[in-house]
Symmetry: C2
Amino acid sequence: MTPSSSVFDRFYSVIPAGGVGSRLWPLSRADAPKFLHDLTGSGQTLLRDTWDRLVPLSSPQRVMVVTGRAHRAAVEDQLPDLTDENVVLESEPRDSTAAIGLAAAILERREPGVIMGSFAADHVIRDRVRFHQAVREAILAADAGYITTIGIQPTEPAIGFGYIHYKEGNAGIEGAPSARLVDSFVEKPDLATAERYLAGGDYLWNAGMFITRADLLLEEIGRSKPALLEGLTELAEAWDDPARRGPAVDRIWPRLERIAIDYSVAEPAAAAGRLAVVPGYFDWDDVGDFASLAKLNSSGRKSDLAILGANARVLSDASSGIVVTQTGRVISLIGVKDIVVVDTPDALLVTTSENAQRVKSVVDALKLTGSTDVL
Amino acid sequence: MTPSSSVFDRFYSVIPAGGVGSRLWPLSRADAPKFLHDLTGSGQTLLRDTWDRLVPLSSPQRVMVVTGRAHRAAVEDQLPDLTDENVVLESEPRDSTAAIGLAAAILERREPGVIMGSFAADHVIRDRVRFHQAVREAILAADAGYITTIGIQPTEPAIGFGYIHYKEGNAGIEGAPSARLVDSFVEKPDLATAERYLAGGDYLWNAGMFITRADLLLEEIGRSKPALLEGLTELAEAWDDPARRGPAVDRIWPRLERIAIDYSVAEPAAAAGRLAVVPGYFDWDDVGDFASLAKLNSSGRKSDLAILGANARVLSDASSGIVVTQTGRVISLIGVKDIVVVDTPDALLVTTSENAQRVKSVVDALKLTGSTDVL
């Protein structure tokens, strides 16, 4: 066994499957979140696509899913090879530090020295070969002691993503020639700033992928959020004891601080020189809104109307935008440009690509008006 | 009894209830045509509104409805006071000359010298007082021997209606001081022409209302279309004999020429100086498309989104256009202007006010593609 192959054997995939995807309402719902939809026309859900992308890196026995209790059945239905011990259920959402940190704490107890990679359940990546190349390099960087992220090489000045700014020169990590040290994580920029990032060449899209030794991730959480680490450690100690897990979850989980892992781990680790990034040269899309979904489903051609839905009956003179239908109704579009029509049994959305980011405000308004039946 | 009251006693209302209203698809369908819808929020169908508008002019026993066989039950349901002998069923649509001419031939046989007024089943008129004033004047003009129409005083340079051009000076008809002789009927104009018509002051909108002695209407049909008159006369002779009606309809009706009464009667009568017009100073709308429907239901304010449908749940930042819903679904509109959304159980239309006239093309396309289930 070569040293590198043994490193790869220590790798464990973690899929945090949370988040409703409010910007994809009314397609995405509390009881049918984004990761349970086929958004690419692949014939299977994003969650299943994610699983299929990860099992060549870590066997089916080494993929853990962290999800809400309400989604347990749907997740297990999608992933029949997921083992019971790899299903981590949240009693309520506590953001990404708690979700990923709990996975880290459980895995580290079970298997000290484990290297974990955390990958969102609802992102789209088609080029598996290059994805695997990047992850393998990130695993080696993680083994060398870095919290490692994979940053996506930008193809346009996108304003919907956060960016990773890396330092000049490679990080000198053995086996990870393209890894760089991260200078900083930056929030979603305006267009002018995004254009500057793209021109500069030293910015990557933050795709929320973290590959790291579990113990080092926990250490990092402990530095910025010691109470959170304490809770996660207590939880992990009780986790594999059927008698203790339930009470521990009930007692500890609801009091864990809600904080995104970008803030608790990535930013402080970057500032301290402990965060590396491997550039990813594969396609990547977080399908953040219907404009992204339209682009994703129009074969990259902006001039095509994308149509998503089995048995769609669409009659349209529209040359751009998207129709998503779950109803089988005849849908006719006349003289509308860049239109977004989402047709579900109990809710209909009509907007434009330009307004796609504002869909979240509808969800907020529906909450305020008590129309929770369609959320 | 004054002479004028006896004239009014001879009046008979005829309601041709035909036409699908393709420009109002998918609201209006072959099995649920425009006249069977409540398009004004009045709580009752346009047909029933029409009936209610006419019964003060001619008693419920003197209103005849000409409609398709398929609509018999719906019509009788809407108009419980309609008598059996006043239901004239078409085995198939043969356009307005056949429909109105058959009514004329039947009524003239039953009651020689009858004065009939024909009014579409699917137009909207709210000001009944002025409507009745205009019809009464038209009845007197009809009694004086004129085929008489009521032309609507234009309020804007509409391009969706035909126009009636009248001659200078009043027609000198006793009891009908505002009646003019008609110079010509003109087709839907372009905007520049419509503006010229409006500025000229001697053009009225053609609302398709004809008030005339039945015998003179038949005479006029006979002049331009003798074969058509022959067929109608034969049909009328057999009509009130239960044994003869059916066979006569089967034999004669399908072979009658399809021609609009504007061409067979109005234009030649105008050219010959036999057509009079009474200006109508009431509101009138033929609800020709969803742009009209939007205007009709936004209290005249162009800046309001009109919403039509019981239990509509609409969440919208749109300040213009219309939502018509039959489903009770939540409908959310974001950042769309002048939008038209028509939400029915099996078909959805999304277009704009500007494109409202093009809705008919969808119906044509659906026919061509065999999607007759939603027509």
